[in-house]
């Protein structure tokens, strides 16, 4: 009996060993990866917008920032096709949470996604997203937009549905006027002069020329990135991508130390920069507590929402100008609120339905969509509504003379902003912020199998 007991234990041990061995053997291929090739030009790959989809259940992931984007268009799509497309909000930080879900095998049909190569590379490598080449609406893009975002290694994987976010300076027109600023700065030195003039003539109620958010962290990278526009045109990110140039080398390092000196030596930023958030930044700009912010689309939309999206108020108060080190090159950073990806679910009917939604969004629904979002149209088939605030029109206009940001042009998107926020708070030196960012960049580049890492 006793020996029998041991036999029993032996069996359990054997089973456990076999289970582990199977797991280890199975562990050789990434369980979340699927591979397949698709012919995007095949007949029927892009279904007609009104194809009947009765009984097809679809899910779309959106971020808290974009939770209201598609409500109307999804409702009309469901009505038109009989599909049951549901919107599901994934909590912030969206991309981290979405990646985590995807890694565990939880994949939706559609999802908002930052349409940049650094953010698409992982999804493409795992075979998670559908190819969107040859989509019927691509020919309708206004000049410059078709290739502005959504591409990875020559193929389209993400749909750009609104103008990508532009980095530049959003300023309070009333503060500029009170401080006697009439000419917009035409390069970095002039920007600093403008800031100094405002600091010397601070209007009542204004606390600082600039405002930034060390608390919410993510905005801290814009002041640095806009300084890199010329370098980016000269191939900075190609050199970084191949390991030939580092964040700690002079180009990026100088931009970081310049930002640090604007905070610590020139005192051009808000006193509570360490703990300030995006919301307080938006309030400060709208209320004139600050003259300028280094902003992107999200920040402007926040300001706009605070002004009840009222064009008259926004046009009176808020302006935009692009800026770079030597001139006025804008920096483009497509956001997750600009792009949609269609995931591979393994169900061809649902995958086709997802593509049909994209065609519908950029087709029959686009004018209504643009109207409801009150933003500029990027298709020749739809008109920009006349209620779009001038600052947004100016920002989107500056795309003509723009260059990609780190997110667009680098192969990896390290947590640069987290480290810059640490620098702003004095827990890291500029050198440490650059080094930590480079270390993380190296890790991701190595994981991608990039040469030079």
């Amino acid at each position: 009996m006793i020996s029998g007991k041991w036999v029993g234990k032996g069996r359990v041990a054997c089973a456990a060993l076999i289970a582990c061995a199977t797991l280890l053997a199975g562990g050789c291929s990434n369980p979340t990866a699927t591979q397949s090739n698709e012919d995007t030009s095949a007949a029927g790959y892009w279904p007609d917008q009104s194809t009947d989809l009765s009984g097809v259940n679809l899910t779309m992931w959106v971020s808290p920032n974009s939770k209201n984007l598609f409500e109307d268009v999804v409702a009309s799509f469901n009505k038109k096709t009989g599909a049951n497309l549901k919107i599901s909000v994934v909590a912030d930080v969206y991309v981290n949470n979405a990646q985590t879900k995807i890694a565990t095998g939880d994949v939706p049909d559609l999802g908002v996604w930052q349409p940049t190569s650094s953010m698409l590379s992982g999804l493409v490598a795992q075979g998670k997203v559908q190819k969107l080449d040859n989509a019927p609406f691509i020919k309708n893009y206004k000049e410059g937009y078709a290739d502005a975002a959504g591409m990875y290694k020559g193929s389209r994987y993400s749909l750009l549905f609104t103008a990508p976010s532009v980095l530049g300076v959003y300023y309070n027109k009333e503060v500029f006027e009170k401080a006697g600023i009439k000419e917009m700065p035409q390069n970095w030195d002039e920007l600093l002069e403008t800031a100094q003039t405002i600091k010397n003539n601070l209007p009542e109620g204004t606390n600082s020329p600039f405002y930034d958010m060390g608390g919410a962290q993510w905005g801290t990278q814009w002041a640095v990135q806009v300084q890199l526009a010329e370098a980016a045109r000269d191939g900075l990110w190609d050199r970084v991508n191949s390991g030939k140039e580092k964040f700690t080398d002079s180009t990026i390092m100088d931009a970081i130390t310049e930002y640090q000196s604007m905070i610590n030596d020139l005192h051009l930023f808000n006193e509570d920069i360490g703990s300030a958030t995006d919301v307080t930044e938006e309030q400060a700009l709208l209320n004139g507590e600050t003259a300028m912010i280094f902003g992107n689309l999200s920040l402007f939309l926040g300001v706009s929402a605070m002004a009840n999206n009222d064009k008259a108020t926004l046009d009176k108060k808020i302006g935009f100008f692009p800026i770079s080190k030597e001139g006025t090159i804008a920096t483009v950073v497509p956001e997750e609120t600009n792009g949609l990806v269609a995931f591979k679910t393994g169900d061809s009917k649902r995958e086709a339905a997802s593509r049909q939604f994209l065609t519908y969004l950029m087709g029959d629904a686009y004018q209504d969509f643009i109207n409801s979002q009150n933003t500029t149209s990027i298709l020749t088939t739809a008109e920009t509504p006349d209620t779009v605030p001038q600052a947004l029109i100016d920002a989107n206009d500056s795309i003509k003379n723009s260059v990609g940001s780190m997110q667009s042009l680098a192969i990896a998107n390290p947590d640069f902003y987290v480290n810059l926020a640490s620098m702003v708070n004095g827990t890291m030196t500029a050198q440490q912020a650059a080094q930590t960012t480079q270390d993380q960049f190296d890790e991701i580049a190595k994981a991608q199998g990039a040469e030079g890492f």
Binding site: N30, A33, N96, A103, G215, S275, D415, T436
Partner: protein, 312 residues
């Protein structure tokens, strides 16, 4: 010989009894009863733990369709990176502070609410509510209260008669202490219940004798009650200290690791790395955290146990 045979008869009869007993046991409690629990334990505990050890030595990532072993690569690059030690230190500070606050608050509440009056019972319920609340909700609520234009500053402003704009979560030195205190506050109700249970088991005769001997309230507590609470102290200190090493939610909601990374505890770093798609790296980090907790747990629990033995 006869003695020998008698003893062997006795032995064999004991053997038969044991044999019957085991047969009875296996009849009443067949091994298959263990299968459901065993399965859950296997799938949700053993396999992830084993995989944690295995995957830490691979190049598993969001960018690679294959997984292959890469030796100690992940460990080497992690230790080269200064973030690992910084975040481990932050985690230790957080855990020690939480253990301190949770136990001080819990013990304080238990002592003051010991008597079984209606008011005390109501107060116990109220102080237990934070334990049941979602940690994220607690984090968000406190974040709102502690904002420069939040409720606390408004209250202080009203009392002091001028505007208060203190950024309570803005200090790179003290924010970690503040978030620990809030985590301690959240779990204090649990510590209170355990300390209360400990207090209730103290023999009233001991206290009576001490009272007759003329012990005052202070002596009564420090010389008698507190030493007799040793098992409760062991449990509370060990669970709060080691549990907080795995903290995540409250800090994520309150500070997101800021300001300047000063509250970035280890799990936030693990999560951030996972979100970057370098899965093996973050698995390596969890393995390191697991080992650190194990290394801490053994001496802490041994010390507290020894202390109990000495007292009781």
């Amino acid at each position: 010989m006869s003695t020998h045979s008698a003893s062997s008869v006795k032995q064999s009869s004991t053997g038969v009894a044991r044999h019957n007993y085991i047969r009875l046991l296996s009849q009443n409690y067949p091994v298959r009863f263990l299968v459901p629990a065993g399965f859950i334990l296997l799938v949700f505990f053993f396999i992830p733990t084993i995989l944690n050890f295995v995957l830490a030595f691979t190049n598993w990532s969001a960018y690679n369709p294959n997984i292959s072993f890469n030796g100690f690569d992940n460990f080497i690059s992690l230790f080269k990176n200064g973030m690992l030690l910084r975040d481990l230190r932050t985690t230790l500070i957080f855990a020690v502070c939480v253990a301190f606050f949770q136990n001080v608050f819990g013990l304080f509440l238990a002592v003051f609410l010991e008597e079984d009056t209606f008011a005390n019972r109501l107060a116990r319920v109220l102080f237990f509510i934070p334990v049941l609340m979602s940690a994220l909700a607690v984090g968000y609520v406190w974040q709102a209260i502690l904002q420069p234009n939040g409720a606390l500053n408004q209250l202080l402003g009203g009392l002091l008669g001028h505007t208060v704009k203190t950024a309570w979560l803005g200090s790179t030195t003290w924010t970690i202490v503040l978030v620990s205190a809030i985590q301690g506050w959240k779990w204090a109700g649990l510590a209170m219940i355990i300390y209360l249970a400990g207090l209730k088991t103290i023999d009233s005769e001991v206290l009576e004798a001490a009272a007759i001997d003329g012990a005052n309230g202070f002596q009564m507590f420090w010389k008698i009650k507190f030493p007799l609470l040793a098992p409760a102290v062991t449990f509370n200190v060990a669970t709060s200290l080691l549990g907080s090493m795995n903290g995540f939610d409250t800090i994520q909601a309150m500070t997101n690791g800021g300001p300047g990374g000063s509250t970035e505890i280890f799990n936030l770093y693990v999560w951030r790395t996972f979100g970057q798609g370098t899965y093996a790296q973050s698995t390596t980090m969890s393995l390191i955290l697991f080992l650190v907790v194990m290394i801490m747990a053994v001496p802490v629990i041994t010390y507290l146990r020894k202390r109990e033995e000495k007292i009781l």
